[in-house]
Amino acid sequence: MAERVVENLNQALHALLADDPGLYLLGEDLVDPYGGAFKVTRGLSTRWPERVLSTPLSEGGIVGVAGGLALAGQRAIVEIMFSDFVALAFDQILNFASKSTAMYGRAVPMRLVVRCPTGGNRGYGPTHSQSLQKHFVGIPGLTLCEMSPFHDNRAVLAGLLGSGRPGLFFEDKVLYTNRMYADGVVDELFRYDLVGADGDVARVWVDDPEQCDCVLVVPGGLAVRAVAVARELLLRDDIVCQVLVPSRLWPLDVDGLLPAVARAGRMVVAEESTAGGTWGAELAQAVHTRRWKALRAPVRLVHSADQVIPTAAHLERTVLVQDADIHRAVKEVVTGA
């Protein structure tokens, strides 16, 4: 059985720190024996005590320190304990790290990644459950990626660090305990492969990757849920739904999605962000502009409600996007209901 996602991420950090003596890892409560709130950093400080540092509760300051390391030609990865707190580092991300790549009139590499444990469904309440990706969409110089069970974390993080652009890496907290998919197999029905120019988009299909009734685009955090929905659609409604999971959320990789979207003529985007100014809206606009005539229906957006995320499980479900919401949206788009 494949490793858990959190193990893959932990091993990725081990490998990156081993490969690069100029790479630092900073964050709150990272060091052993605690090893981070989600145990992603377990074992790292024992091997590299000089470069894996537990910090004060200073998200803005930590990302600033990472920016300073990057400015000095080093590399840095920051863990924000809960991505909600990345709001405290917004200035350093927006006004320093991202802008410094260009505002001095020449390309200045800023090799830093801010890791953001993200999302709800764990009952942590309004300030520990959000999906803040949308707030970082469209910042010049900044790249957004999301952890997925299809994409090897070492390759994604190495790619971000190598790009010279600062990156945010969103990690769905429920996904940590899922298994990675391996060898092109999702389950007895579904297969997957990596497509797009740099293999950035995971494509999940049944029988024939060139045939489907609808394309369902989700970030990595919803990948497992989207696959479950596709399975239900197939078995209950006889709808063939292809799931596309781009690793990179921003800048948009529309080219990697367009062939499948054009073939199906139908597209649904699902994400856990609350309504308004979403990643999906950007995707929809891009697809509408480029493939309007190939679409049989407008791109449908599915997201959480325009509300704070409650703590109690029965209330949290009323706000966060549910599998049934995604299922209904795909079915409506396909049947024209």
Binding site: G60, G68, R106
Partner: protein
């Protein structure tokens, strides 16, 4: 933790010619900018350091090329003291060819070698702490210096950065140009307690310098920089200074007697009275030098931002 250096003697000490030239270069550069703004020849905004020129001039021989300097919105003097390059700076402010940052950064956003300025208050302190973290490991003996004002101490980033620098024993030096006013707000209305107490709370050494005499200030700063280098620990120096000009351009709402007080403290007039012959010759030379820089740079074509440099 707090070491006070007594005020300058009534008469300023005699300066070496190169120090005087640099002070006057900065003075006339700033005056030329305000003059050009007044004539509508400059776009955007600027913040001049009139009255505070001696701070980077005093620091200049105390810094090595390997040290990092972080400047702020009021940074022309910091840049000129480090590089002696009025052409590149003016071209940056004017968006002309030869601009240090192609005219993208402008007055407040400059990166050259190990010198960086940004326009957000306090942001540079944790960034400099990160640089100092690298220096401690890779280049011991070098330091990261941040210029900031008294108003900057309203920003939480300052404390987050100072806290980590103290915890991790980083060679970080905060040079505070305490000019008693944050844009239009007097320090008494925006800063509770004092900087000495704030530094003490972090266990960080604090040095107060009230003199505006370049030689005296340099002598007071030299041991501080030496300690930061040798011990690898942070320090705060607080320079009581006087903003002779407006915050930006034509936005000075201080009462006439307040502006008069700042002017009475200005090193420029005091030095002119104390050493009239030395002063007159150098002052005239730098005035003409800056006028020639303005004439030459203004005649250059517009700067170009290459596609490859857009990040």
């Amino acid at each position: 933790m707090t070491a006070a250096v007594t005020a300058a003697p009534p008469a300023p000490s005699r300066l070496a010619d190169d120090d005087l030239d640099l002070l006057l270069l900065i003075r006339h550069f700033e005056l030329a900018l305000l003059d050009m703004f007044g004539r509508g020849e400059l776009h955007g905004t600027t913040h001049t350091c009139l009255g505070q020129e001696y701070v980077p001039v005093a620091l200049r021989p105390l810094l090595a090329d390997g040290d990092h300097v972080f400047s702020n919105h009021r940074g022309h003097g910091h840049y000129l003291a480090r590089f002696g390059d009025p052409h590149g700076l003016l071209a940056e402010v004017m968006g002309r060819q030869g601009a240090v940052c192609r005219g993208v950064g402008g007055s407040q956003h400059i990166l050259r070698d190990r010198y960086l300025s940004t326009g957000v208050q306090g942001e540079s302190v944790p960034v400099a702490a990160g640089v100092a973290l690298h220096l401690r490991r890779a280049e011991p003996g070098h330091l990261a210096l941040v210029h900031l004002g008294d108003g900057t101490w309203g920003e939480g980033a300052v404390y987050e950065g100072l806290n980590m620098a103290a915890l991790w024993r980083l060679p970080l030096l905060l040079v505070v140009e305490h000019n008693g006013i944050a844009q239009s707000t007097p320090t008494s209305a925006q800063l509770a307690g004092d900087l000495a107490g704030r530094a003490r709370a972090f266990g960080v050494a604090h040095t107060l310098v009230t003199s505006t005499d370049t030689n005296t200030v340099r002598a007071a700063l030299a041991p501080v920089l030496r300690r930061v280098r040798e011990r690898g620990t942070p320090a705060v120096v607080e320079l009581r200074t006087h903003r002779v000009g407006p915050h930006s351009k034509g936005d000075d709402t201080r009462r006439p007697e307040e502006i008069g007080y700042a002017r009475a403290q200005d090193w420029y007039a005091r030095y002119a009275r104390a050493y009239p012959e030395q002063f007159a010759a150098h002052d005239e030379r730098q005035r003409r030098h800056v006028a020639e820089v303005v004439r030459e740079v203004a005649g250059r074509p517009a700067s170009r931002w290459e596609e490859a440099g857009r990040g």
